[in-house]
Amino acid sequence: MKILVPIKRVVDYNVKIRVKSDQSGVDLANVKMSVNPFDEIAVEEAVRLKEAGKATEIVAVTIGPEKAQEQLRTAMAVGADRGILVQTDQPIDLGGVEPLAVAKTLKAIIEKESPDLVIMGKQSIDDDSNQTGQMLAALLGWAQGTFASKLEIEDSSAKVTREIDGGLETISVNLPAIVTTDLRLNEPRYAKLPDIMKAKKKQLDVLDPSELGFSYEPRLNVVSVSEPEERKGGIKVASVDELIEKLKNEAKVI
């Protein structure tokens, strides 16, 4: 079984982001960039399937700037066999390459690669849209197993346990299918130094979006990006009695 894992280069989740003063976007200059955390989980799940003898090849794909090769190398260091970069200088967080365009690009790559399963993050932590996996499944006419916390591969189908608002739901999806990962699917491993070195020699193909027929004109015009309203901290109370008094008489919420 061949698994395709789309990943995204995003601002590292520990970075406190800054909005640009002209409100045109988020300042990403000289900021640490990483693999989107949900995509790390996707890579890990694919690697575990390969280790369990269920998968034979893992292909990592990303769309982004030349530097997104770093994220593909990270994926290859934990076990992806090769990488594909669709290189663009359009922004990939806001006002550039949007989820629908990503889904269309991935569809074009999937038509060439013919994977049996696609595992990808449920959302990226920059744009927070949570759309690409569902859109890709729609464009391919495949089943979708979103927000997965457990994945079991069967013969021509997969059982996906999904984290939903009411609890957990298990569905069966025909393969090929799209599975999007939630936080508790697994705990991704760290790459070991020898594997990081080996990953540098793995195959990495760079494609131009125009070769696939895409130009990435955004459909959503980003009018502005602003700081959220800052919530001011209040006071410290000295005791439970004071807390109850404030909640009753000042905040009037109990």
Binding site: K16, V26, D126, A137, G141, Q144, L168, A177, I235, K246
Partner: protein, 309 residues
């Protein structure tokens, strides 16, 4: 302007968030129609028809829709969408699962998780875990949008008298099937619509000790939430998680107990009206957003609070 809203329900009743989504639709303006998909969902369609400001209910009643599989519901939305300027769904796991599938089939770039409606084409939505707010203007002829319910006032559940129209579903797409569900059963109010939410974090220490959080919630008639750390540690199930990737809540009163206040958690609760934080660590980031902070051992403070309330 005409707006179609995908109603969320559990097979027995409409989810309260549907009323908030209708509230958002009234801000766009125009005719509001509700799509109810399910099996034996006539009582839900009737309930939707009696909501104020709804002019028509479309009922798609078929066994292939019982478990709300996206593969079977998306084509219905696609078929109906051409008659509308906007299609709205709640930004819940239900709406997030289905709407993008319909959007792609319609060749529409969906707008996720809106919190403000500027006009019929322009919306505000949080990005970067709520650390930035993007104002976006859509150029698509049909707008597909998921709505963050807590940012819009609900409409009245009564007072309307809409007609109910049947939509006939031909067949299942046969791509996926329902296997089982483990849903949390609780007498407590639902987390995203509760007036009071008491949440526990890693500091609570164990599944057994989480009972203390539940007792405080029960004393206040509130819902129980948790930080990601508490869920990852196995103290409570995943559906308790409040945060960027869990549930977004905005109650009248939010009490954070033993929660340090990671950005991820703050993104899910910082719109609460009044925030109380109880934590032993006086430098915990949660205090920077709390209206009332109590630096104390939760195992002393929470029992005292339960006793004195």
């Amino acid at each position: 302007m005409s707006i179609l809203i995908l109603a969320e329900h559990d097979g027995k009743e409409l989810s309260p968030v549907t009323l908030n989504v209708i509230g958002a639709a009234t801000k766009i303006g125009g005719d509001i129609h509700i799509l109810v998909c399910g099996k034996d969902c006539d009582s839900i369609a009737q309930a939707a028809a009696s909501i104020s400001s709804v002019s028509k209910v479309i009922k798609a009643d078929n066994e292939v829709l019982e478990h709300h599989l996206a593969e079977n519901i998306a084509p219905i939305i696609v078929d109906l969408a051409k008659d509308y300027t906007h299609v709205l769904a709640p930004a819940t796991t239900f709406g997030k699962n289905i709407l993008p599938r319909a959007a792609a089939l319609l060749d529409v770039q969906q707008i996720s998780d809106i919190i403000v409606i500027e006009d019929a084409e322009t919306f505000k939505r949080p990005v970067y875990a709520g650390n930035a707010i993007a104002t976006v203007k859509s150029s698509d002829s049909i707008k597909l949008i998921t709505v963050r319910g807590t940012n819009f006032d609900p409409v009245e559940a009564a007072g309307g008298s809409a007609s109910v129209e049947e939509y006939s579903v031909t067949a299942s797409q046969d791509l996926s099937s329902f296997v089982s569900a483990e849903l949390s059963e609780s007498e407590r109010p639902e987390l995203t619509s509760a007036k009071v939410v008491v949440s526990g974090g890693r500091g609570v220490g164990s599944e057994e000790k989480f009972e203390l959080i539940e007792q405080l919630a029960d004393k206040l008639g509130g819902a129980v939430g948790a930080s990601r750390a508490a869920v990852d540690a196995g103290y409570v199930p995943n559906d308790y998680q409040v945060g960027q990737t869990g549930k977004v809540v905005a109650p009248e009163l939010y009490i954070a107990v033993g929660i340090s206040g990671a950005i991820q958690h703050l993104a899910g609760m910082k719109d609460s009206k009044v925030i109380v934080a109880i934590n032993r660590d006086e430098d915990a980031p949660i205090f920077s957003v709390a209206d009332y902070g109590l630096v104390a051992d939760l195992f002393d403070a929470v029992p005292e609070l339960i006793e004195k309330l």
